[in-house]
Every structure is written in structure tokens, then in C-alpha cells.
Amino acid sequence: MALRYEAGHRLFKILVLLVVIFAAIGGYIAWDRGFREHPQPDWVHATAEMRFKYGSLGAENDAGIPYWIFYVLPRMFPEKLPGPGGYAALGVPWEEGQELPVGFTKKTIGFPRVGNNCAVCHTATYRTKPDEAAVFVVASPGHTTNVEGFFRFLIDCAKDPRFNADNLMSEINLVTKLDLIDKALYRFFIIPITKKRLLQREAQFAWIYRKDFPEWGRGRDDAMNLTKYFMTKQPMDDTFGPTDMPSIWNLQKYKADQGMFMNFAGDSHDAYSVIMDSALGLLGAPPAHKQDFLDQVAWLHEYLGKLPAPKYPFVIDAAKADTGKEVFAKNCAGCHASARTGTPIPLAEIGTDRNRLDSWNKNAAVIANKVVTDMGLQRKGLVEATLNGYIAAFLDGIWLRAPYLHNGSVPSLRDLLEPAAERPKVFYRGYDVYDPIRVGFVSEGREAQLAGTRLDVSQKASGNQGHEFGTTLRPAEKDALVEYLKTL
């Protein structure tokens, strides 16, 4: 009896030990292959510009797409992209030789994942003629990027019944050799969980599928609605206010203590708040590592604070620009180079499209600020007030910030100097060949149509009215003024 008990006891002990060992091994594997963080390779942080383009902000934790799923989706579902070219069809800036487009970050958290950083919407490409390689300019408006197309693509893929473990695994097996553990993880966890998460986005992103709203098109996003629906979780309303991606160089020019505000309607108090809120938008969740996140925001604040605007790449007629400078002083400086710059101008005075204003409200600001405070993050934050105008813009690097007005409804500077009725009614956004005559990107013609997305100013939120300052100048004065603007 005692013997048997002892033998049984020993057996029990061994069993327990085995269970513990297996659990420990299983736990280690789960941690190692599912959650263990590896730093990005050194080349990512080799220069400040590389870090801005490819450095992780931590978005891979919650918003990240598992690398191999990200890799095979364009091959499996090319028909869900706006054209041929895989992710390149979305106009994302993509440097030759790079594994991922600018603004896409690869980080291994258990398994390689792809997230985004600021650069995806804030890197421009331009060419001085069609037959040449593009120049990449960081912190510029990402005028080619089709953000809405990217959101839709991922959701549309997840909704397709062909998005299942069998099909994805067979595509993945064509391009890489995963070991047994990774294969099992992908098949039983990563693929089903990714599908579920992407499908959840469908409800959150309901408004990007609305038939009564036009497409954002390349280079625009409905930024305040994104914030409203994701950060404050408010129910969908009927507002729609897509705006151009802004340039984010030289952010130190915004002096909060001099009554300046940031974002098109002055929605935010200062650059630090805008960077933090935008980064939180990319993370899609509270930061997994708070201190690391704060360090990233501080670095971006420092880097973007001092980064200068890029120089105009064509020859400038200096004499003409001098004449233009006088025209500018008389007609433009009052708002764009004065104490008014960076401060809100009432809508009644500026007269541009009001939809962007309507897409945000005081209540949303209050809730959003609380959400961020509850994460334990400190910043001055969003302006808790009813806003009724647009900020008078600083014009540094204005040449690369086409199309113009907050909603990108006017293709070139020269067009902006025409009365609203005579500005182009339909044009194409997102082609990166520059037009030094009209000063903006080429927005008409076959190539612009092929590459770009159509903008019709009669569509909701895309009105090109208002800001008719300078439209009564003589043509020679307009030309001179535009020449001067190239120097900024």
C-alpha cells in the first residue's frame, strides 16, 4: 500500500514536472514567436531622415499587419487595388531597393510585422520631367498617397472569403520557408486573428464606404473624422472634410504663446500635441511602451521643429521675383507674413469650403483630450472651443505644397490667383511631375490621369471657392508674385 502510494506519488511528481516543463517550453515558444520584441536593424536609425522614413513608432503592436500577410495580399487580391503595381498602385512613396515603401515600418514582435509612421503621409516625390527618377522629400505633403485606398484594401481583402488560412499559406509558401512553429502560428492564430481585426475595422471605417461621399483621392485624408471615429468613438454623422496632407517641416515657426494654432482650422494647440495625437492615430491603441513612445514623440518634435523647407529645384528669375516680392508685400503679407500668420481667419473672410470645419466640434475635442489624458499622456492638446475659420498659412516651401487651399481643390499657384469661377473644375491629383510654369504638379493630360485621382470641385467638401485675394492683379503681377513664391 505504502509502496504503491509512493510509486503513484512519484509518478504524479514526474507528471507534474513534465507538465511544468512542457508549459515552460510552450510558454517560451509562445513568447519568442508571438511577443518577443527585437529592435529594428541598425540601418533604420543610421540617419535622422532614415529614422523618419522607416523607424517604428510602436504601431506594429496593435495596428500592425503580420509581414507575410502584408506581403501576399496584393498578389492575392490585385483587383482590390486602384491599379497595377501592388502597394505602389496606392501612390505610396517607395524608394527603389527598399523592401517597404516610405512610412512603412518592419519590426519583429514575436514575428515580423508591418506598421506605419508619419512618413507615409508626409513624404513627397517630385520629378522635373517624366523621364527621370523621382526626388523624395521628407516632411512634405504626401500628395501621391491614397490613404483611403489603403484602408479599404486591407478591409476588402479581409472581407473576401478567399482570405483564409489555406489560401494565404499556399501563397506564403511560394515566397518563403517558414518553420513548423511559424507555419502553425500563422495558420491557427495569426491569419484568423488578422482577419478578425481587419473585419472589425469595417464598422469603424463605415464612412469611407459611403456612396454619397466622394473619394478622398491621392494626397488627402478626412483627418478630423478619423480622429472623431477612432479616438472619441462617436457615432457616424454626415460630415465629410478631407484635407491635403500638410507639410510638417520647420514646426518651430508655430509659436503657441503668440496666439498661433496648428491644423487647418486651428484645432490643436501646438506641434507637440499634433505629433502625439497623430502618432496615437497610427498606433490605434494606447502605447505599449509609454516611455519609448514619449521619446519618439520628443525626437520627432525636435527633428521636425528644425527641418528646413526644401529649395525650389528649377531656375528662378531673380528680377521677376523681386518685383513679385513687392506684390506680395502689398497683397499677401498681411496674412501670410505678419502677426496674423498661424492664427485663425474667420470663414466669412476667407470664404473657402466649410466642410472641414463642420467635421470637428468642441465636444469631440473634450472627449479626445480626456482619452489621451487617461492614457497618462500629457500635452496641451486639442482646442476645446467652437472653431469658425481657417489658419493663415506660413508659406515656407509652398512650391511643394500643391494642390492648394486646405482641401487641395486648386492645382497650382497660378490657378489660385484666378477668380474661383475660372479655376480648373476637374483635375487629377497625385502625379508627381512638376509644372514650373503654373507652379504645382501637372494635373491634366494622359499621364496625370493614369497616375492620379480625379478631383471634381463640385463634389462634397472639394469646393474651390474663396481665398480670391490677388485674383484682380494684372497677369504680369501674378506671374511676378508666383516667381517670388518659388523663393519661399
Binding site: G86, G97, A133, V175
Partner: protein, 493 residues
């Protein structure tokens, strides 16, 4: 008490149990071992000499794309009307004596099936006849001037879509070939293989449906980079029209060592030999997990030093020396000092399209969108592609073995060297490609013969999209004597 009486039945049952176990386990183990031995291996056919390895060795493409050996053998008889003539010879493949498969195909036994697929030599080996009465000589590394890869592809696509591509028809032809398949192959392996192959070829046919919208490439040419778009499953039906109809000549591939770092491919879109090689190997059916890097490296190493054969006709030394001076003045800067010395200011660099002014469709077929997608190839491997770049012109090539590289220009639109030295309007507007008989007078292959012994050569019309014979007008204003001298000198390359 009970102990004793219990013990006996227990041990008897135990014995019975073991016997039963043996009866079940042993046969299962034997069957298992047999199946493992039969279906477990992965054995390519290897060759001792490097040149044989180039012609018949494996790149690893049979893993993913390999056609089961006997199906490969049977198909020309199953679907004869989808070929221009009898057998694979009719699309320009070369059969050497004693070989059961043509040059440019390799064999590998994988998952219990002998498989056949293409290797580098299919597009980079051809034949030359120095006289109508002489037998053709096989030359490795030269452009496969007679291989019609479009007809080859269309044959498989059409045959897979044909109602006869099923086991009844295919097995009958396999039997007729004397395959003597055993029961397992006949009843299980081959029926499954036929079904799988049909499905795969039809999938491929869907992805390659754009080739039916392109003018015939004819022998010796391929639309390289539209084919590359298929790797990414680009929706080819919505490609901008200017990207399509971009056939290019197969290049010669000797002397790769001095080419390292030069702008490779006709438009110079890559500068790393190994990466260019792996890119080309996609055409032999390889995928990143299944490529046979060791055997590709063997080809790669051999090509570093491989040399073109010497010009087989007499060369007038005096005339050639005179031509050398002309060459030095007009050509050497872009094309190198000689056929073996590739030094020169502009050698291996891209000349802008406005300056070279040759047909631009091949240039336009390669896009920035494709280049960036190519940099995702071999992701996760140390040799991920990083060197593809969109260019805006065509690359200046070294001219080693130039005599074998006719027709000339990237699209093979000018039949002979002598024609290339004529003004554009005096170059032949229509000529015939695919003849391996050499013309030592004009220096190129015979191009004015539409057919010979029942064999029809490809009518090349320079008016067709992608076929323009314009541009590269260097040397066209030289006097007739200088042109003759220059051509004589080029024979020494």
C-alpha cells in the same frame, strides 16, 4: 493465490498481442519505408562538365513548375495541332544526339515523380551553320535565336485547355512512348499529376493571357519585364498600353565577370550580376524557397569566364586593322576597346532614350512600380533584391561575340551588322528571323529566306509595335569603305 493463476493468461495474451503487433506494424513499416524511399527524395540529374550542366542542369525550377517527365514527352503527340510542327523542335528547341530532352531543360526526381523544366540554356544557347551543307554547331551562351518562347507557352496553355488533356489521352501516348510505368505510377501518380499539371498550367495561362494581345515575338525574343509583372500578379488588363508589346532579344551571356557593376539588361535596370541571374531564374520556374542556389551558382561561376567562339570564317587582317581605327573613333567609347577589353568611358552606362532613339517600348515596359515590387523579392533571405532601378534609356553593351548576337538592337530589328550601319530608311523593313545559316558578307544570320525545307521562318515586320528599327545611327554616315572595314574589325570580337 491469484497471482499465479492470473499470470499465465496475461503472458499468453501478451504474446498474442505482440504477434498481432508484429503482423500490423512490420508491414506498415515496410510500406512506410517504401513510400518514403519512393516519394521522399529530391534528386536532380547532374552532369560532370560545366557546359553540360549549363545545357541540362537544374536551377530548382522543377520543384514548383516541373512537368512530369512522361507528360512532357507525350504532350506534342497529345496536342500536335497546337505546335507549329512535329515535336518541340518546331518551336526551335535543340535536341542533341543521345539526349531524351532538349537543350535548356533539366530533370529532377521530386516527390516520386521525374520532372522536366527549363533552365538558362533554353534562352541562351543556339545553333550556327557556316554552310548550308554543314551540320549546325551548338553554341552555349549565345542568344537562342531560334527558340520561340511565345509559341512554347501558347502550346502548353492551349493543350491544357484542350479536352484531350486528361488521363485517357495522355496515358495512351505515354504507353506508346514505351514508358512501362508500374502500377502505382499508372493508377495513382500519373493521373494525379495530369490533373495537377492541367490546373497549374491553366492558372499560368490566366496570368499570361496578355501575351495573346501582343504581336508575335517570334523566335529569339521575349517580353521580359511584362513577364516579370506576372510574378506579382499585376492586373495586366489594366496596364497602360504603352507598357505592353515590348519584346527584347535574348542576350548573349558570356564574360559576366567584367560585366559586374555595369548596367545590366537592355535598359540597364540592374547592376548586380547575381541578382540579375536570380531574376532571370524566375523564368525557369524557381521560387525563393525552392531555388537550387548551389546549382545556379555553378552556372553563374562558369558564366563569369565563359568565352564566345571565334568567328569561323577568314578575316581580312589589313581591312580589319583599318576598321580598328574607325571603331576606336566612333564606337569604343560606348562599346569598349575590343571584344575582350571592355574599358571605355560610357561602357555599361545608360544612354538617354532621346539620344539613342531606338524603339522605346522595351524601356517603357519597365516601370518604377515594377522596380519597387522587385525589391520585395527574396524578402527574408540575405540576397533580397536591392539593385533594380527604373532607367530612362538603353545601356551601352560590351560587344563580345558580336557576330553571334544578330539580329541587332535590343529588339532584334536589324538583321545584320552591315544593315545597322545604314541610315534607318535604308535598313530592311521586313526580314526573316530564325535561320541559323550564317551570312559572312553582311555579318548576321541569313534573313532574306522565308522558308527552307518546309521550315517557315518568322517574318519580322519593323512596322509592328515594338519592332521599330530606328535609332542608333552611329556610323551610318561613314563611307562604304570605312563601313566594310569596321564590319571586318567587328568580326574579331
Amino acid at each position: 493465490m491469484n497471482e499465479f493463476s492470473d499470470a499465465q493468461p496475461t503472458s499468453r495474451w501478451r504474446r498474442r498481442f505482440f504477434v498481432l503487433l508484429l503482423l500490423v506494424v512490420v508491414p506498415l513499416a515496410v510500406i512506410g519505408l517504401y513510400l518514403l524511399q519512393r516519394f521522399g527524395g529530391d534528386t536532380p540529374v547532374d552532369y560532370a562538365s560545366n557546359e553540360e550542366h549549363f545545357k541540362y542542369g537544374s536551377t530548382g525550377g522543377e520543384h514548383e513548375m516541373g512537368f512530369p517527365y512522361w507528360i512532357w514527352r507525350a504532350l506534342p503527340q497529345v496536342c500536335p495541332e497546337h505546335l507549329p510542327g512535329p515535336g518541340y523542335e518546331s518551336v526551335g528547341m535543340i535536341f542533341e544526339p543521345g539526349k531524351d530532352v532538349p537543350v535548356g531543360t533539366s530533370k529532377r526526381r521530386y516527390q516520386g515523380v521525374d520532372r522536366v523544366f527549363l533552365n538558362c540554356a533554353v534562352c541562351h544557347t543556339s545553333t550556327v551553320r557556316t554552310d548550308k551543307s554543314k551540320a549546325p554547331i551548338v553554341v552555349t551562351g549565345m542568344p537562342a535565336n531560334n527558340f520561340d518562347i511565345m509559341a512554347f507557352q501558347k502550346f502548353f496553355f492551349a493543350c491544357a485547355a484542350d479536352s484531350r488533356f486528361r488521363k485517357e489521352y495522355v496515358m495512351a501516348e505515354i504507353d506508346r512512348l514505351g514508358a512501362n510505368l508500374d502500377l502505382l505510377d499508372r493508377e495513382v501518380v500519373y493521373p494525379i499529376a495530369i490533373a495537377i499539371m492541367r490546373e497549374r498550367v491553366l492558372t499560368l495561362a490566366g496570368r499570361f493571357d496578355w501575351i495573346y494581345r501582343e504581336p508575335n515575338w517570334g523566335p529569339g525574343r521575349v517580353d521580359t519585364f511584362n513577364s516579370a509583372k506576372v510574378i506579382f500578379n499585376f492586373p495586366m488588363d489594366v496596364l497602360p498600353p504603352k507598357e505592353l508589346a515590348a519584346p527584347a532579344d535574348f542576350p548573349s551571356i558570356w564574360n559576366q565577370k567584367p560585366r559586374q557593376g555595369m548596367s545590366l539588361h537592355w535598359d540597364g535596370n540592374n547592376s548586380l550580376v547575381e541578382e540579375r541571374n536570380k531574376s532571370a531564374a524566375f523564368g525557369t520556374g524557381t521560387t525563393p524557397p525552392t531555388i537550387d542556389t548551389g546549382r545556379i551558382k555553378r552556372v553563374e561561376d562558369w558564366l563569369l569566364e565563359a568565352k564566345p567562339p571565334k568567328y569561323p570564317f577568314p578575316i581580312d587582317a589589313t581591312l580589319s586593322a583599318k576598321g580598328g581605327a574607325v571603331y576606336k573613333q566612333y564606337c569604343a567609347g560606348c562599346h569598349g576597346a575590343s571584344g575582350s577589353d571592355f574599358s571605355g568611358t560610357y561602357v555599361g552606362k545608360v544612354t538617354p532614350i532621346d539620344e539613342i532613339a531606338t524603339d522605346r517600348r522595351r524601356l517603357d515596359s519597365y516601370t518604377t512600380e515594377l522596380a519597387v515590387n522587385q525589391s520585395t523579392l527574396y524578402a527574408g533571405y540575405p540576397w533580397r533584391f536591392t539593385h533594380f532601378r527604373k532607367t530612362f534609356g538603353y545601356a551601352n553593351m560590351p560587344l563580345d561575340g558580336l557576330w553571334l548576337r544578330a539580329p541587332y538592337l535590343h529588339n532584334g530589328s536589324v538583321p545584320t551588322l552591315r544593315d545597322l550601319l545604314e541610315r534607318v530608311d535604308a535598313r530592311p523593313k521586313v526580314f526573316y528571323r530564325g535561320n541559323d545559316l550564317y551570312d559572312p558578307v553582311r555579318v548576321g544570320f541569313v534573313s532574306n529566306v522565308p522558308d527552307e525545307d518546309g521550315r517557315h521562318y518568322f517574318e519580322f515586320d519593323t512596322k509592328v509595335e515594338g519592332n521599330a528599327n530606328v535609332g542608333h545611327t552611329y556610323g551610318t554616315e561613314l563611307g562604304a569603305d570605312d563601313k566594310a572595314a569596321l564590319v571586318e574589325f567587328l568580326k574579331t570580337f
